[in-house]
Every structure is written in C-alpha cells, then in structure tokens.
C-alpha cells in the first residue's frame, strides 16, 4: 500500500474511533448506519464481487441471524455472544442450501438471483406464521435504560457504534486477507473464466460454496447486531426484498469487488440520503427525497458504472493495485 493511502486510512480510523466524543446524537446515528451498510455491503460483496453470484435475497441471512439470536435471548435468556454461534450456523445452513441448489443445477445470473429472492420470500412467509418467532406480530426485546451491558448488548448508541465499528474493521481485514489468499486467487480465476478455471483444477463448486457460506455467516452477524440495536423484529421487514436490495446498493455504487467500495458507497449513499431529506423537508412533498435519491442512483450508474471508489481512488492518487 502506498504511504498516501496508509496515512489516509490511519487518519480515518482515528476519526472513527474518536467520533462519539465530538459528534452529536444525530450525526452518530447516521455514522452508525454508514458503518452498518458498509459492513453488510462488504459481506454481500464477498459473494457478488469476489465470486460473481448475484444475490437479491441476502436479507434471508440477516433475518435468520437476528431472529435466532433474539429468540434465544428472549425465550431462554441466552446472551448474544453465545447465541451468535447458533445464528451463524443457521445462516450457513441456509446459504449452503441456496448455494448447493443453485450451483448444482448450474443457475446463474438472473436465475440465481430469483432463487435467492424465492428463498427469502419463502422464509418470510414461514416466519409470518411461526408462533415461536412471534409470527407477523413481531418479536420484541426488553430494554433497560442507563445500562451498558456489552455481554447482553443492552446499552446506548455509543456501545453499538463501537461494536459495528469493530465489525466493519474486522470484515475489511478479513476480506483483505481472503483476497490475498489462495482462495482469493481461485475466486478471481472463477470470475474471469469459470470453465478455464475448472479445467486447470480449481475446485469451482467448493470455492463458490465457500463464498456463499462466508457471506451468509458474516451477514448473519449484522442481523444479530441489528436485532439488538433496534430491539424488535418483524418478518415483513427483516426478510423484505427492500432490505436485500438495500444491502446491494453500497457495494454496487461504491465499487464491486473492491475492498473499500462498500465503505465509500455507504458514505455516499447515506450522506446523499440525509442531504436529500433535508432539502425535501423544505418542500413538503412526500416522496421527493426518494425521487432525488433515484436520480442520484441513475446518474451514478450511468456515469460511473464501475463504482465511485475506483474513480475516487484514481483521482486521489492511490495506487490502482490497492483495491
């Protein structure tokens, strides 16, 4: 990594760690959202950007993760640090099923995407009718004021901020390591030309399965965090297609397959979102903010289809090699 890049990264990290000290409640809540979308976008990125499989049903894993951990907590008092293992296991199984079915039957492109949507919707309706999870009435966690309990994730925004920050940093490091590893090179080969890769002995099926399951596991963690931060879960929002789509926006806008794409994408999109909300507030036309937002998406995908980050990195003089 070039010095310039390293310095910026270090400065960014310092800023993020110190942020709660000087940012107000509103700015902090927005930053939390940015980090959340950066994290979950990166998790999705592993499957799409690294292994080339378009998933539009990623809310399945987040929802499963959240429900399992929250369910264990509300029904059996099992804290999230223990519950997370079960949550991740559930997501891995789900991801495994989706991946195995999809790859075994050679589904690709929009067909695979539809498979993921179908599974997410199927699960949503299932949860709607499952009493243990609260059905469509939802699942609620009890709150306690003035507590900062890291073990049970009961506490204020600052605590959750640091947890999601740690998760975001963690996943970036993990992805960096993955990209540099042999698995990462296999993924690159598969992305470039899957048949050729198969021909030279790359275990294509297993590499793809690893991409899906790792992605699912990491997304489940986001689901757990989400459940404890918002303290309530409904099938119609947890597994919603809208959620799945949200997860894809940051990495696509930021730069698919790149390391910093999801973070840049999250900053740009959340920042734009808040800006547009502010502007629209002056006009009192409901839906105006989303119109601006749609226009922004349109402009970005038309003029920077590879994402904002690659362009930004070039402009700021970071090396191309360091994605």
């Amino acid at each position: 990594m070039k010095t310039r890049a390293l310095v910026t990264l270090a400065a960014l990290l310092v800023f993020l760690v110190a942020a709660p000290a000087f940012l107000g409640g509103y700015a902090l809540s927005v930053l939390i959202l940015v980090l959340y979308f950066a994290y979950v976008g990166q998790a999705w990125n592993i499957m799409m950007g690294f292994a080339g499989q378009l998933s539009l049903g990623h809310a399945l894993y987040a929802g499963l993760g959240g429900y399992v951990a929250a369910g264990l907590y509300t029904h059996y008092g099992i804290g999230p640090w223990a519950g997370v293992f079960v949550a991740v296991a559930a997501a891995v199984v789900a991801g495994g099923v989706v991946g195995a079915l999809g790859f075994r039957f050679s589904l690709a492109g929009v067909y695979f995407a539809l498979l993921t949507i179908a599974f997410a919707e199927f699960t949503r309706i299932g949860f709607d009718n499952w009493a243990w999870a609260g059905g469509s009435g939802g699942m609620f966690l009890k709150v306690e004021r003035g507590v900062s309990d890291l073990v049970n994730l009961r506490g204020g925004p600052t605590m959750f901020y640091y947890v999601i920050l740690a998760m975001a940093v963690g996943i970036f490091v993990l992805c960096r390591l993955l990209l540099e590893s042999r698995l990462g090179r296999y993924w690159l080969a598969i992305r470039e030309d899957a048949e050729a890769a198969q021909a030279v002995g790359v275990p294509v099926f297993w590499c793809k399965m690893l991409a899906v399951t790792i992605s699912a596991a990491l997304t489940a963690l986001a689901g757990v965090w989400n459940a404890f931060y918002y303290n309530n879960l409904f099938p119609e929002t947890a597994f919603a297609m809208g959620r799945s789509i949200e997860m894809t926006l940051s990495p696509i806008i930021g730069g698919l397959g790149t390391l910093f794409g999801p973070l840049v994408g999250a900053v740009v999109l959340t920042g734009l979102g808040e800006l547009f909300t502010d502007i629209s507030d002056q006009f009192h036309i409901p839906g105006l903010k989303q119109i601006f937002y749609g226009l922004a998406l349109l402009v970005i995908i038309m003029y920077r289809p590879a994402g904002v980050w690659p362009w930004l990195a070039a402009r700021l003089g970071f090396t191309e090699r360091d994605k």
């Binding site: 509103y26 309706i125 469509s136 004021r145 309530n232 700021l316």
Partner: protein
C-alpha cells in the same frame, strides 16, 4: 513531483472534511430554522412516504390543524410542530428522531407503526425525551420497560375487549344475536395481533355465539373468493372481518357475488369506515358495523377539529388517524401547561400525571397508568349510514339509531 504530492494530501484532507461535513451538515441548518423560545417544540414523526404513506399523511392532517383548534378551545399553548418523515422504515425513524432531538425538540410524537415507534422509543429513552404515541397497537410498546413513553391508543387486547363488549350492546339494543360466527382476518402485524387476542380472550368473553373457524389470508392477496367461500361454507350467522382497505373491499364484493348475507361486523380493524371503501362498495357497504375508537360527535373539541379539518382539507376524510394525532398534541400542550417548563424530566412527570377531561375521542379522561398506557379509551360502534361512518352506540355519543340486523344485499333499504 513534490508539489503534486503536497496538493494531493491537502485534497485528501479536504475530502475527509467534506465527508464529515456532509454527515453533520444538516444540524446548523435546522437550528437556524428553529422557532421562537416561547413555543413547545414538538417533533412529529410519521411515515408520510413509503408503504404506509396513506395513513401517515392522514395523521399529519390532524396535526396541521392542531394549533387552530387549541386556539378555538382557548387552551393557552402554542405548539411549534416540526414534521419528520420516517419513510416507513425503522432505521430512518431512528435517525430522524435523533435529528429532531438534536434540533431541540422537547417532545416526540409518533409513529403509527410499531416497529418504527419502538425504534424512536430507543432514542427517546436514551436521550430522556418524552415520546407520546399517537397510534400503535402492539402491546410490547408499553410492556418493554420504556420510561419515557406514553401511549394514547388502545392495545390490541384493550381494543378487542371494548369491541366485544360493544357487540353485546348491539345485540342487547336490537334484541337479536347470532348463534355462530366465523372470523376472517388478514395476516399482517395488526391482523395477527387481533387474531391472537381474539383466540386468547374469546373463551372468557361470554359471547352469545360460538366461534366456528378462524380463516386468515395473506396481506398481498388480490383475490379473496376462496377465503370467503370457505367462510360461507361454515354457514355461520355472523362474519367478523379484520381487514385493511383493499381486502375489505374485496371481501364485501365477494359476499355480494357469492350471495351470502351474514351479519357483518368489523371488530376493530381499519378499512371499513374509510372513504375509499365506502365509495367503492357503494350501497353494499352501507349498514356495515365497525367497533372502533372514534371521535365523540358530542364533544365541542371534536366539532372544532372537524371544522378546521374540513376547511383545510376538504377532499380528505376526517377519521381516527387525525383524531388520535390531534389528541397526542393536546396531551403535549396540557403537559407543558402543567409543567410550566420545557425540561424533559418536568414534561415527562407532567405527562404521567395528566388528566384531561375535555378531549376528542370517545372515552373517559385521558390518563396514563404506571406503564404509560391510557386505559380510558372507549370503543364506539360505527355504522356506515348515508355513506359516512356514524356513531350509533354508546347512546350518549350516538347521532343516529342502530340498524340491526342488517338488511340483505337486495333489500329496498339499500340505496
């Protein structure tokens, strides 16, 4: 070479600063637009865009006329109401609540949807700012231990208890009672809470009829002929329907098409009193009974609210969304007057002790119990008469006589 590097570093610094400013920028803009120090700043958080936009906007209309009504009723309070859109999403609800508090809101009001309301409640609880819930029926809102919340809306069990009690009143007043009933309900958050509540409470309610079956359908259903056929096959005397607007219309249309004329009661769901429903179902929507918390036609404040609503929004229906939202603001005003301060603790204290005799919705005085729930909210019996939802019971609030049993589909009385 050196110069280039120097410039680039500055650019990086600027970029970082720009990023931070982008995120933090809205704050000073908001403060600049703040109102004078004498008013109570109320942040109204509603889903005015997204899937719940219709109800969010209906609620907002009740708030838009609030100050005019307060002035009419000579209540010495002027509210500086700032509107925030939750976009039907809990994460937006949360950041907007933070934004509102950062902008100096003294009280939060909202948010119709239980998920969004709870997201806002987290913030309210954290920052110690009172939240007045205008509409949201999920029991956990006042059962999860929040200290800075009061809810002026019945929980699903309360609603049902009142609704079924009113059913008995209907049977008593008319002298006719069904022997069997079937329940047809939408399977969304509200519907499943209702079904769950009904199933749990029914054995102890002492209703004169037997509940033969409970049929649920998906919220997105575009065709309910099968469901209605199933209900018809039970041959029940009474059909209770828990639906929203679109499915409500479908149900009535199917009933007519399948030529089934059960007694028809809506035990507390939205849909059947809404303007669109009444317009679409036309003469077939007449005489439909709904048990709802409703505006008291005999209250002077209701008259004022209705008058101002009609003046400012002549094309929109005046219903309980506007009513409850106005009441939430009324509560804020009363608390402020009692507390004589905008400090959150003082306001919260005043809110817990509030007792408002003159208000808009049917029921006893507005008063909150230890969990922050108003238990005095009454349930009225509405009947669609002359294309408008009309209060027919309780007698003290009735403006028209009850018509029960309801006329058949081809009865001459249906016009």
């Amino acid at each position: 070479m050196n110069k280039k590097t120097h410039l680039t570093r500055r650019q990086i610094g600027r970029a970082a600063l720009a990023g931070a400013t982008l995120v933090g920028a809205p704050l000073p803009l908001r403060r600049a637009a703040a109102q004078s120090a004498g008013d109570l700043k109320v942040a109204l958080l509603l889903p005015t865009s997204g899937g719940q936009a219709q109800i969010g906007q209906a609620c907002r209309r009740g708030a838009d006329v609030a100050n005019a009504v307060l002035a009419d009723m000579k209540i010495p309070a002027k509210l500086a109401i700032v509107n925030y859109d939750t976009e039907t999403k809990p994460d937006v609800a949360r950041t907007q609540a933070e934004k509102a508090i950062a902008a100096g809101a003294h009280v939060l009001v909202g948010a119709f949807d239980s998920g969004q309301t709870i997201a806002i409640a987290q913030v309210a609880e954290q920052k110690g700012v009172p939240l007045i819930v205008n509409i949201a029926a999920a029991p956990p809102i006042t059962e999860s231990g929040y200290k800075f919340i009061v809810r002026n809306f019945p929980t699903a069990p309360m609603l049902l208890g009142g609704a079924f009690a009113m059913q008995k009143e209907v049977f008593k007043a008319s002298g006719v009672a069904p022997k069997t009933a079937v329940l047809l309900s939408v399977n969304d958050t509200f519907g499943s809470a209702m079904v769950g509540g009904i199933k749990a409470m029914f054995p102890k309610l002492g209703m004169p009829y037997e509940l033969l079956d409970v049929i649920t359908y998906d919220a997105a259903a575009k065709d309910l002929s099968v469901e209605v056929a199933k209900a018809k096959a039970t041959k029940a005397d009474l059909l209770m329907m828990v639906s929203r607007l679109t499915d409500g219309k479908l149900i009535v249309q199917e009933l007519v098409k399948q030529r089934w004329e059960p007694m028809l009661i809506n035990p507390g769901a939205p849909g059947t009193y809404e303007e669109d429903f009444i317009k679409t179902t036309g003469k077939y929507g007449e005489y439909l009974l709904a048990m709802e918390p409703w505006m008291d036609p005999k209250s002077a404040m209701t008259a004022s609210l209705e008058k101002h609503h009609l003046a400012q929004f002549p094309k929109d229906q005046f219903d309980l969304d506007a009513g409850f939202t106005f009441e939430a603001l009324l509560i804020a005003a009363h608390a402020w007057i009692a507390a004589k301060s905008t400090k959150p603790d003082a306001l919260m204290d005043a809110l817990r002790k509030v007792k408002i005799d003159q208000h808009v919705m049917i029921g006893g005085p507005i008063q909150f119990d230890a969990k922050g729930q108003n238990v005095n909210i009454g349930v009225a019996v509405l009947q669609n008469l002359k294309r408008a939802p009309t209060v027919v019971l309780p007698k003290e609030s009735a403006v028209a006589p009850l018509v029960f049993p309801q006329p058949g589909w081809n009865d001459k009385r249906r016009t």
